[in-house]
């Protein structure tokens, strides 16, 4: 009888713990500043594991009111996230540059092109293509940076051409 009582109490305790976990609902406001405030509160109250989803929701909200100023807003949000320890500095850089910079983070690498990039050329290009669509969202649809997006698109084409030539030359030298 005593054992049953202990089990019942433990189960009730665990159930109460479960119901106290944060719900981590995305920001409800359609205003970017308010949405960021809501996201920040949720993130520091235990929802940091859902950072990706929050970032995506914020981008969606920003798409509803695109303007060049949004770049700064997102940068400040990411710097805040890094300062609060929700993201490492490298993660924050990656989140920002993937969406709002012309340069491709997919091209990060410490080894030379002949030995590392060429054997994985298709993967590099595939990752770049995916990143280009994120840049379309960040640069074009969120920040109205048409020139930046156009340059990123051109850069993608140039990298594709130069890698094709370089990798052919590397293969011929073996």
């Amino acid at each position: 009888m005593r054992t049953k009582l202990i089990i019942f109490l433990a189960a009730t305790f665990l159930a109460s713990c479960a119901s106290n976990a944060p719900e981590c609902v995305g920001p409800q406001s359609k205003n970017l500043s308010s949405a960021i405030d809501q996201a920040q509160i949720s993130l520091i109250n235990g929802c940091h594991a859902h950072f990706d989803r929050y970032y995506d929701s914020l981008l969606g909200i920003a798409e509803g009111d695109p303007k060049p100023e949004n770049k700064r807003v997102f940068s400040e949000f990411l710097v805040w996230s890094s300062d609060k320890g929700l993201l490492s500095n490298r993660q924050a850089q990656n989140y920002y540059n993937r969406y709002f910079n012309v340069k491709f983070m997919s091209l990060k690498g410490d080894y030379n092109n002949c030995s590392h990039t060429c054997p994985n050329k298709q993967k590099f290009l595939f990752d770049m293509e995916r990143e280009l669509s994120d840049k379309e969202r960040g640069l074009l649809r969120v920040s109205l940076d048409n020139e930046g997006y156009y340059r990123a698109d051109q850069l993608y084409q140039e990298v594709e051409l130069v890698l094709e030539a370089t990798c052919t030359a590397c293969a011929a030298g073996r």
């Binding site: 770049k71 700064r72 990298v159 130069v162 030298g173």
Partner: protein, 288 residues
């Protein structure tokens, strides 16, 4: 003793022009040194060596060889076109047993043989110069972009130090590898390479890649064409006795025309920027 400060003041006043001259000289020396140092730093800044003088000369030479070949073939291809038109207008297609049609077919075959002979004569020169250019570029691309650069440094080279509109305009547009005469193409390459000193490394990397891939393709085509010529010549000599126009003949002539004189349908269009306002750039502290 009372005069001592006056004397010293006078000495100072006397010395002033000398000191000014000294300062001026020092400034001039400093400026000269700074200018030399800047020039030196500029000269020592890492630049990619993709176009040695030999490549520039090879491009010029290839252009000349291509022009000679075009001149020789233009008249023959024109004649072939006329004969083909006459053959079609005479409704010879399907009437191969007609003696008039057979005569026309033999004439076309003879002109075709003439074209193959000229190509056989000129192609080795062409192949030689194209291969020289290709090999020089290949070495440069492999060493400079393949072995000395990571994907990130390659990207930085392509994007350039400055992403201003002026820099972007100086970059060559990707032309694709068809749509113009072969000699014109090499002439353009030569001009682009010869005047590329004023442009940044980003232009050179794209230009070298574009030319190299073109050379690679051209070299392969020449190689295949040379292999085919001997076979096609023998076939056509046999066909001469029957007066037959083979679809292969028409295909080969079409191929030669598109290589030498350009394929107008294949002109690559470069998309324009999407419409919208251009705002001033914001630089995030996170930007790399």
């Amino acid at each position: 003793m009372r005069n001592a400060p006056q004397r010293s003041q006078a000495t100072v006043q006397k010395r002033t022009p000398g000191r000014t001259l000294y300062i001026v000289c020092l400034t001039v020396l400093f400026l000269a040194f700074a200018a030399v140092a800047t020039q030196d730093a500029h000269a020592n800044s890492p630049t990619i060596r993709l176009f040695p003088t030999t490549v520039v000369e090879d491009l010029k030479q290839t252009g000349n060889v291509a022009r000679d070949m075009e001149t020789g073939l233009q008249e023959i291809i024109g004649r072939l076109d006329q004969q083909q038109e006459l053959y079609n207008e005479s409704k010879c297609d399907g009437a191969e047993n007609d003696s008039g049609c057979q005569r026309l077919a033999r004439q076309i075959g003879a002109t075709y043989l003439e074209m193959l002979t000229i190509m056989e004569e000129r192609l080795p020169d062409m192949e030689h110069t194209v291969n020289n250019t290709r090999l020089s570029l290949e070495k440069g691309l492999r060493n400079e972009l393949g072995r000395k650069m990571t994907p990130w440094t390659l990207q930085e080279t392509l994007i350039g130090k400055s992403t201003s509109a002026a820099t972007q305009q100086s970059a060559p547009t990707l032309r694709g590898r068809s749509g113009m005469r072969l000699s014109e193409r090499f002439k353009q390459y030569y001009q682009l390479v010869a005047t590329s000193g004023a442009k940044g490394d980003q232009s050179l990397a794209v230009l070298a890649s574009d030319i190299y891939l073109d050379m690679e393709e051209t070299s392969l085509l020449i190689q295949r064409t040379r292999q085919e010529i001997a076979r096609a010549t023998l076939m056509e000599q046999l066909n001469q006795s029957f007066g037959i126009i083979t679809p292969e003949m028409i295909e080969v002539v079409g191929g030669v025309k598109s290589i030498l004189f350009g394929d107008m349908d294949g002109t690559a269009l470069v998309a324009g920027p999407p419409p919208g306002s251009i705002e001033e750039a914001y630089r995030s502290p996170l930007e790399q």
